[in-house]
Amino acid sequence: MAGFSIRPCGDFRTTYRQDTRIFDTTYIRNAAILGIFAVAMIPFVLDGYYVNLFIQISYFAIAALGLNILVGFTGQISLGHAAFFGFGAFASAWINNTTGIPVLLSIPLAGLMTAAVGMLFGLPAARIKGLYLAIATLAAQFILEDFFARAEWFTGGSYGAAANPINVFGYEIYDDFSFFYVALFFLVVMYLLGTNLMRTRDGRAFVAVRDHYLSAEIMGINLTKYRLMSFAISSFYAGVGGAMYGHYLGFVSAEGFTILLSIQFLGMIIIGGLGSVKGTLMGTVFMVLLPEVMESGVSALSVFEWASSTAVTDGLAYIKEMAIGLAIILFLIFEPDGLAHRWQQIRAYWKLYPFSY
């Protein structure tokens, strides 16, 4: 986000345009473009395990950005994001299977369908906020989960739905190597869209609704419209992320989209930093890598006798879950502004080093 970073001394912003630039300096912009190229090299350098992790990060990061637009920028609370993520996965598979629309097109279409569903469940947001909204979205989570298990025409019921691989100009994308580039493309596009959204009138309206909704209303912002819009955009992102997930795995089952995944999404944006686009990505990386790190940590500890006992190895799934809960709690207590804030501090430290005043 523009507005936080440190610029060279004497570099003042003189116009509003300058203040809202995505990249503060040309150097940062070039570094970001170089960074994307560097990431694009990953499949050539690292092995399949890391490519798979990156793909996971990309679809979760897209959905998490949607949640951050809703929670971090508009100040609404949603506990049902995983259900929308799942809806996108089913919707894309359904569109592709029934109408034959190519997958690359059915992914954004699934996003639009999810946006419509999100608006439906966002309707209570027109009247309620805060805690009440959190509980309403919790209900949405359970209702949609029930719907997944029940609606066989749409989801295949308990058998799940098959999702075709992505087809780009006649190329079937079925392996991780080529899917990586599709994921990277979607990630960059969705993040650019998200960053730009916050520079528009609508984006500023979201922030105004978050900061003081009564003042925002007095200033002429239509609360109902913007709350619903925020729900729609958030669900759109969830839908796109979910659709990618579905087409990546090739199969969508109704069991994967539980409340735990919703909590993980919330964890991503809290750990990353509420109201920060960059932070969302950091938080997602943290949340995806955390179980992997726990797993390798446990296997590294297994040289000790107490750690190689069956209690530890069998309980690995529970240890991972506990780590997620603990990470959320510790971040909220010790670093409520998230990794994005910490990143700024580290940068400020090096910028001013060794004279930190």
């Binding site: 929670v71 359970f142 964890g267 509420l274 240890i319 879950e321 809960g325 603990l326 909220l332």
Partner: protein, 297 residues
């Protein structure tokens, strides 16, 4: 119409509903006095039930002693939790507070599964007769006991908030923290005590349900069932919590009856409260007894 089944289910609903009411009451207690929404209420039940199980089965204590130790444990647990995790959250935005309790909830759920295993365990038999005959229907003794304990807890709450000094202090704090503090009430103690009481009573509810259904992680689902109940009754009303709990219990069992007899959808009974929840939030967000908050700029 199968009246006998309907009547049996409604009776079930009443008994389960009073238990929901008790748990909802604990939830409201925390919300009212500390303004914290406790998403980990279900895990209190879970922990209470498992700790009691550990005392009774693994340490072979007699029931009354194990029960007493569980009460002490839950009380200490509530106080420690409030001091370590929730005191730093005072004054934080509502999303942080909600997330902290959600984090606690997944942490304790995973921890109990890790320590005690994911399978259902049963308590040793406490009552000699499994069921008694009442008005021509077989009712499990444990159900009757749970109903009696629920009523007893409710009466206890009534006495506590009406007559005891600490209860009055808690009500004063809920009404206005600053005024209460200036009158010499230690708000810190009140916060700690409300978590302690809530954990203790939820623990008792957990043991009671554990006796009927066995102890497993399914107990924590009650913590989610509480939300329809408290929203229906109004978030900050103790009476509302009880009424809401009973209504949700009855509703669930009516839904099961309708589902089983006519619709055959499968699991309407577990999802019906959430449809009701959405409808209430759209029509009457502050519930039956809740106070509508008025905001000034």
């Amino acid at each position: 119409m199968n009246f006998e089944l309907l009547f049996q289910l409604l009776l079930n609903g009443l008994i389960v509903g009073t238990l929901y009411g008790v748990v909802a009451m604990c939830f409201v207690l925390i919300y009212k006095s500390t303004q914290i929404v406790n998403f980990a209420q279900g895990e209190f039940l879970l922990i209470g039930a498992w700790v009691c199980y550990a005392f009774l089965v693994e340490m072979q204590m007699p029931f009354w002693l194990g029960f007493l130790f569980t009460l002490l444990f839950m009380m200490a647990f509530g106080v420690v939790l409030q001091m370590v995790v929730l005191r730093p959250m005072i004054g934080e935005p509502i999303i942080s507070v909600i997330m902290v309790t959600i984090g606690l909830s997944i942490f304790f759920q995973a921890a109990t599964k890790w320590i005690f295993g994911a399978t259902t365990a049963t308590y040793p038999q406490v009552f000699e007769t499994r069921s008694v005959n009442l008005l021509g229907m077989q009712i499990e003794t444990a159900y009757i006991m749970s109903f009696v304990i629920s009523l007893f807890i409710m009466a206890g709450f009534y006495w506590f908030f009406k007559y005891s000094k600490l209860g009055l202090a808690m009500r004063a704090t809920a009404f206005d923290q600053q005024v209460a503090q200036s009158l010499g009430i230690s708000v810190k103690t009140v916060f700690a005590m409300s978590w302690a009481i809530s954990a203790l009573v939820s623990g008792v509810a957990g043991i009671v349900i554990g006796m009927v259904n066995g102890v497993s992680s399914a107990l924590s689902v009650i913590g989610i069932k509480v939300f329809p109940a408290v929203i229906l009754g109004g978030l900050d009303s103790i009476v509302g919590a009880i009424v809401g709990g009973v209504i949700i219990g009855l509703l669930e069992n009516t839904a099961e009856f309708v589902d089983g007899q006519y619709l055959h959808w499968g699991n309407l009974f577990s999802i019906a409260p959430f449809y009701v929840l959405i409808i209430i939030l759209c029509i009457k967000p502050y519930g039956l007894f809740g106070t509508k908050d008025i905001e000034r700029i």
